[in-house]
């Protein structure tokens, strides 16, 4: 069983490395270095303004430690078919999970140490602490994370005492009390509480480890963990395993319900509902819209806002193009008695809606910031109108025809 975990870990790490290499390409690393350098500089500067006795300092410390303790989840690397294939070996799964626990613990503890190092200068400046206090605090944080993971471990079993895996208790209540004791009363007292919590969580393990596994929860937990990881990678690159999740978004119904239910609107109906509810598409759209608007709000100048808004309109439009083929794997659209000529028209209509909204939002942002410069104001409005028209009615059909041929 330990062997099985090692195998899975190897392939898991290989996959992670592949994605990490895509994320941390040369440009990104360079940008990241600058950001870290800048933040470090800002941090060291801010520290000089601080002194002991600031009322919000202990609260901030507790807050940061609390966030820190949440980082690093229990990686079980369990897969959905396991509940069928490993069913007879269920009592051995404990050893498998223990390997996963050790692996997760080492990563989680490393994260805690890192955050403790970052937080240390702040504590030294704002609190009366000795070096011993700081180390006691580190020990407390590490123990809290261990307790946190123990509770998550217990969660994978059908427990007799449900509170042993209660997330509210072990993720929030106990850490808050412990850290508050540390910061407000005495560091040793906090450590003592952490030790007690750890002892309780270790002794209870003997009890639940003999019980049956909650496969459903275990598989759901691992899926949600991997989903978070993939979502992060998906910001930078395409993750094929990330199945598009769907949200209802009732508040757009008002607009969608205006589509008349006649045969030529079949595709309009599909594309409209699809783009709004597909988290990937609508997420991309909203993200780029917000980022673009923020840029435009903070940037002044004559030509720069025009160029930026044109660039973002193009980017958003470009990202939407693949959605044209979103339904081609669906057998229904090939069976429906409708002609394809409406497909392009419908897609253009949806894009026109989406991009016009972007254009209006951008124009408002630009006009609000640069209202005195008429060249910029009219440049943005006319430029966007021309671009959107050209993109949808000239570029899009050609581009789709080309993609169609490749498919």
């Amino acid at each position: 069983m330990k062997q099985l975990f090692r195998q899975r870990l190897t392939s898991h790490l290989k996959e992670m490395m592949r994605y990490l290499r895509l994320v941390f390409n040369d440009y990104f690393v360079l940008a990241l270095l600058f950001v870290i350098g800048g933040l470090g500089y800002y941090y060291s500067h801010a520290l000089k303004q601080l002194h002991t006795g600031i009322w919000w300092a202990p609260i901030l410390i507790i807050g940061v430690l609390l966030v820190s303790v949440q980082l690093g989840r229990f990686a079980t690397l369990i897969q959905a078919p396991d509940y069928v294939f490993l069913l007879p070996r269920e009592s051995d799964i404990y050893n498998y999970l223990k390997s996963g626990y050790k692996y997760s613990l080492s990563i989680a503890l490393a994260i805690q140490v890192l955050l403790w190092i970052i937080l240390m200068p702040f504590i030294q400046v704002t609190m009366h602490v000795t070096a011993t206090d700081l180390y006691v605090l580190l020990a407390t944080v590490l123990l809290m994370k261990t307790v946190w993971l123990n509770a998550d471990f217990a969660r994978k079993y059908h427990l007799q005492n449900r509170w042993l895996s209660n997330r509210l208790i072990f993720r929030l209540v106990v850490p808050i009390i412990t850290f508050a004791l540390c910061v407000y009363v005495n560091y040793w007292l906090g450590l003592a509480l952490a030790v007690i919590a750890l002892i309780v969580s270790y002794f209870s393990r003997q009890k639940w480890a003999a019980r049956s596994l909650d496969w459903t929860k275990m598989i759901a937990d691992e899926n949600s963990r991997m989903h978070t990881v993939y979502q992060f990678f998906n910001l930078f690159t395409d993750v094929p395993t990330l199945q598009g999740s769907v949200k209802r978004r009732r508040y757009v119904d008002g607009i969608l319900n205006r589509i008349k239910l006649v045969p030529k609107n079949t595709y309009l109906y599909l594309y409209g509902h699809g783009i709004v509810r597909d988290n990937e598409m609508s997420g991309l759209y909203v993200r780029l819209l917000v980022i673009g608007t923020l840029f435009l709000v903070f940037i002044k100048g004559e030509m720069l806002p025009i160029l930026l808004s044109l660039l973002f309109v193009y980017l958003i439009g470009f990202q939407m193009i693949p959605f044209y083929f979103h339904f081609s794997d669906n057998a229904f659209v090939h069976v429906y008695p409708i002609t394809n000529q409406y497909q392009l028209m419908s897609f253009q209509k949806v894009l026109l809606y989406l991009l016009s909204t972007v254009g209006v939002v951008f124009a408002i942002a630009v006009v609000a910031v640069n209202y005195s410069n008429l060249v910029t104001v009219f440049g943005v409005i006319i430029g966007e109108a021309v671009e959107i028209w050209a993109f949808i009615y000239l570029y899009l059909p050609k581009r789709l025809a080309r993609s169609e041929r490749v498919r």
Binding site: A80, P81, F85, L87, R211, S212, T216
Partner: protein
């Protein structure tokens, strides 16, 4: 007495789906679990394989409950789920090896048996393929081969016939009766009533989370003489009655 379900109350959340379900499967017996969609067949099975814990009542396999001894309980089960579920990154061969590992089977002997099973289900030339890309019926066959590779004492089979070709259905039924002769117990849920009538020794009819009735086909005919001769007729009558009352 192989499988014994007594006074089982259970379900997914706080609301019980199963209300006081009791039945048993004896050694060398094939019991059909019959019921409409939502009657509680799969919930019962999920309780038996330990995905869910009972609110009340107990489930024993050869006298052991799950919480008394997880190892002893689970080692005796082979399970074929309704939806075939396979590892995306493993080939067919690796799936079989995984099963041998999990059930601690002798490699040489198991491979002999595996080749026989693979040939039976016409999968013998696909050992290096990925079952994830197979059709539903073929994935179902993979699950069947894996389950019958084992020496389990209790087979839990959830709706096995959907998606299987007629030949495979027949082969599966032969496999089941072979195992039955060797003393294994089999619990099978299904909607295909005429097949069930021909092959099952006894039937448990679930309706709205309760055992409506159970027994052999003769016993059922005697209990409901006016309902008709076939299991199909009897079941339809009972289901309609159950809805009316």
């Amino acid at each position: 007495m192989s499988l014994e379900v007594s006074n089982l109350v259970g379900g997914y959340s706080q609301v019980p789906v199963l209300k006081d379900v009791s039945f048993d499967v004896k050694d060398g017996e094939l019991v059909g679990l019959i019921g409409l969609n939502g009657a509680g067949k799969s919930t019962t099975i999920n309780h038996i394989i330990g995905l869910l814990t009972p609110f009340k009542g107990s489930i024993k396999i050869n006298g052991t409950t799950l919480n008394e001894d997880v190892k002893k309980y689970k080692e005796q089960i082979a399970y074929i789920p309704e939806q075939p579920i396979v590892y995306k990154e493993l080939t067919l061969k690796e799936h079989l090896e995984m099963t041998m590992l999990a059930y601690n089977l002798d490699q040489d002997e198991s491979w002999k048996r595996a080749h026989k099973l693979l040939k039976l289900f016409r999968l013998d030339n696909k050992l290096d393929w990925f079952p994830d890309n197979f059709s539903k019926g073929m994935r179902q066959k993979v699950m069947i081969v894996c389950a019958f590779l084992t020496n389990a004492k209790l087979f839990i089979i959830d709706e096995p016939f959907l998606g299987l070709d007629p030949l495979a259905v027949n082969d599966l039924l032969n496999l089941i009766s072979e195992r039955k002769k060797q003393g294994a117990s089999i619990l099978m849920s299904t909607h295909v009533l005429d097949t069930a009538q021909r092959y099952c020794d006894r039937f448990v009819l679930l309706h709205n989370g309760r055992v409506r009735t159970e027994g052999t086909i003769e016993e059922l005919r005697k209990l409901f003489p006016e309902a008709g001769d076939s299991l199909n007729d009897i079941y339809l009558t009972l289901a309609r009655e159950g809805d009316a009352s």
